[in-house]
């Protein structure tokens, strides 16, 4: 086991040292909440954050980015643009670590997406073990994301005065040895780590009434469930749920041109299946006209379609969509309702 101990006082100097060579992105306060953002002052890093408004996907798939620049005159020319730079992404909770692994699959399968993958290649990820539930909406324990054994270069666990640092990759090892002042863990540290890790589990509650592995099958049988109409009545189609989702990666692509109409940029930005025009074709037909159909699509993607495509569930239980929904739509309540109908239908 490659385990090191980093005193909490050593975090600020470590971040300061990293800032010389990397963009360091980590959780920091924004009003009463927290956001991932570039760290300008190591003292502003808040590894004690509960959750963030947006997930760290915004570092790997920015809300908006350039894909290419082009000229529009005769002899037109297109130049790809990959916006990436050396980055350390600090303090990623385990639900978000799972989500990033899903994004890795999505952007590398069949046609690799150089824009995402180059940023991913240049990003060193430092995970952070959750010891307490971040708030009342998270359901990571149900989704199997309360811990992570991959998806990070370094992983921190709070031992009180110090962090235990699990070194998972060569990039992580180099980062720690070059910039940090950690010592190798002693037997007592390992014992302490094991205590902390086993003590955390009772603090978290399951919030799904069933095993999440049943989700794909439950949803396959729930296409005509009355839940969708009920959600369609309440949903305002604002797209907040997909914006804050760590595994939503759908995007729109559009061109912007200069005033002289001589050159421009091709850009992409986050898009949402909850918006009216998302599935509309040129002739005017929309294949998910009703909000109920769009909510159903979101639930199906999270609990079934992504599983069918990548072999893992599309929901990591972070609870952000529940937290952000102005209509109080809860994916936990929705999944539970579908399960309830299924077991009720079996006469239980």
């Amino acid at each position: 086991m490659n385990l090191w101990i980093l005193d909490k006082e050593a975090i600020s100097p470590l971040v300061g040292a990293l800032m010389a060579d990397y963009q360091v992105v980590g959780p920091q306060a924004k009003g009463p909440e927290f956001v991932f953002g570039p760290i300008a002052d190591p003292a502003k890093l808040r590894l004690d954050y509960n959750t963030t408004i947006l997930p760290p996907k915004k570092v790997l798939q920015p809300p908006q980015e350039r894909l290419a620049t082009f000229t529009m005159q005769v002899g037109a020319h297109v130049e790809p643009v990959i916006e990436a730079g050396p980055t350390v992404l600090l303090g990623v909770h385990t639900c978000d670590l799972h989500a990033i692994q899903l994004l890795d699959h999505a952007f590398s399968q069949e046609y690799p997406d150089a824009h995402y993958l180059e940023r991913r290649r240049q990003t060193v990820i430092v995970g952070l073990e959750c010891l307490e539930p971040c708030d009342e909406h998270s359901f990571c324990k149900s989704m199997g994301t309360l811990t992570a054994d991959a998806g990070y270069d370094l992983h921190l666990t709070d031992l009180g005065p110090a962090y235990a640092v699990d070194v998972a990759t060569e990039a992580g090892e180099q980062l720690l040895s070059r910039y940090g002042t950690a010592r190798e863990a002693a037997d007592a540290d390992v014992r302490r780590l094991n205590e902390v890790l086993s003590a955390k589990w009772p603090h978290f509650t399951y919030r799904l009434d069933f095993d999440a592995a049943e989700l794909p099958a439950l949803l396959s049988a729930a296409y005509d469930h009355p839940l969708w109409d009920e959600l369609g009545e309440r949903c305002l189609a604002c797209g907040s749920c997909t914006n804050v989702c760590p595994t939503c990666y759908c995007f729109n692509v559009f061109d912007e041109v200069n005033m002289a109409l001589t050159e421009g940029e091709r850009r992409r930005r986050w898009d949402s299946c909850q918006l009216d025009e998302f599935a509309r074709v040129a002739g005017g037909e929309s294949f998910r006209e009703a909000r109920s159909a769009r909510q159903r699509h979101r639930f199906m993607r999270k609990g079934r379609y992504i599983y069918e495509k990548f072999g893992e569930l599309g929901c990591v239980g972070c609870g952000r969509c529940i937290r952000t929904c102005v209509a109080n739509i809860s994916i936990v309540d929705g999944f539970n309702a579908i399960h309830e109908t299924a077991v009720g239908g079996n006469g239980q």
Binding site: L67, A68, E79, E110, A114, D271
Partner: protein
């Protein structure tokens, strides 16, 4: 602090290649036929039924099915495009010599190897002839490898029938069985005398033909409303679901299974399609 820098790499799946319009032909009031050449006269290398992402730089990008068959490439390919959105309206203002961006070809086309030896029943409606034409001409260029070739084509009115020269040619061939129909104004028909035009929706053509269902492959494409009725006719003739092919249309922003726009329940129209068998999409609620 190191800020994010823009690294310029040469390979991105989203970078279109600059291609040149070599010919533009007005087909109907709304449709034009564009002949496009890639740099150095390189072949597109597509299968019938595939599509490209076409860019008008500064306006945007849209998925367009390829209407020319690989057998007639000659270093250029053809797109028949209706002006209906931003990109296609901009394309319609362009002239030979103008430049467009091309990515692709993408998607699963028609599996022509599986179709050899079979009777071919094409049933396009309106603009649905465009993707099917890539297969029709491929089949006609390899005519000896196929059984009967039947084309049932419907449009709203005579002036909206596409590829009139080819329709005339197909009608005069004795190895192609053609039946055309228009929803209305059949008396406005001014085509070849050899070719008569029925009045009524496309399903009115099916009673005119008999098929050997087990040896028949049916291919259809058209406006969403059409599929249900055409499928009933095809199934009614006993053609197996695995031998009925459809080419579907969806909004697409990437063409490569990422942007999410073209998703049909769990399927991606861009990667799993745009050509599907009816058996593939029969239980897929959002497909039709």
């Amino acid at each position: 602090m190191t800020t994010s820098t823009s690294t310029r790499l040469s390979t991105s799946i989203y970078t279109p290649e600059i291609a040149r319009l070599v010919n533009v032909e007005q087909m109907t009031e709304l449709e034009k036929l564009f002949t496009i050449e890639l740099p150095d006269g390189r072949n597109l290398g597509h299968e019938p039924g595939q599509f490209v992402m076409l860019s008008v730089l500064g306006v945007g990008e849209a998925p367009i099915s390829i209407t020319s068959s690989p057998s007639r490439s000659n270093g250029a390919f053809k797109l028949c495009v209706r002006r209906v959105g931003d990109v296609t309206n901009a394309l319609h203002t362009m002239q030979p010599g103008d430049q467009v961006g091309i990515r692709g070809p993408f998607g699963h086309g028609f599996p022509i190897e599986k179709m050899r030896g079979k009777d071919m029943l094409f049933a396009p409606g309106g603009l649905g002839l465009v993707p099917l034409r890539s297969l029709i001409n491929q089949v006609l260029d390899e005519r000896g490898f196929f059984g009967r070739v039947i084309i049932l084509y419907g449009a709203k009115r005579p002036a909206e029938l596409l590829f009139r020269d080819e329709l005339d040619e197909w009608v005069t061939r004795d190895d192609v069985e053609c039946h055309f129909t228009v929803d209305c104004d059949a008396d406005m028909w001014d085509g070849d005398q050899a070719m008569t035009c029925n009045e009524g929706v496309i399903t009115t053509l099916f009673p005119l033909i008999t098929v050997d269902p087990r040896n028949t492959v049916a291919i259809t494409c058209g406006p969403p409303i059409m599929y249900r009725f055409v499928l009933m006719e095809l199934l009614g003739k006993g053609i197996p679901e695995t031998q009925i092919y459809l080419s579907l249309e969806r909004r697409m922003k990437c063409g490569v299974g990422k942007c999410g726009h073209c998703q049909i329940n769990g399927l991606y129209c861009c990667q799993d399609g745009p050509v599907f068998t009816y058996a593939q999409i029969k239980g897929v609620e959002e497909a039709l």
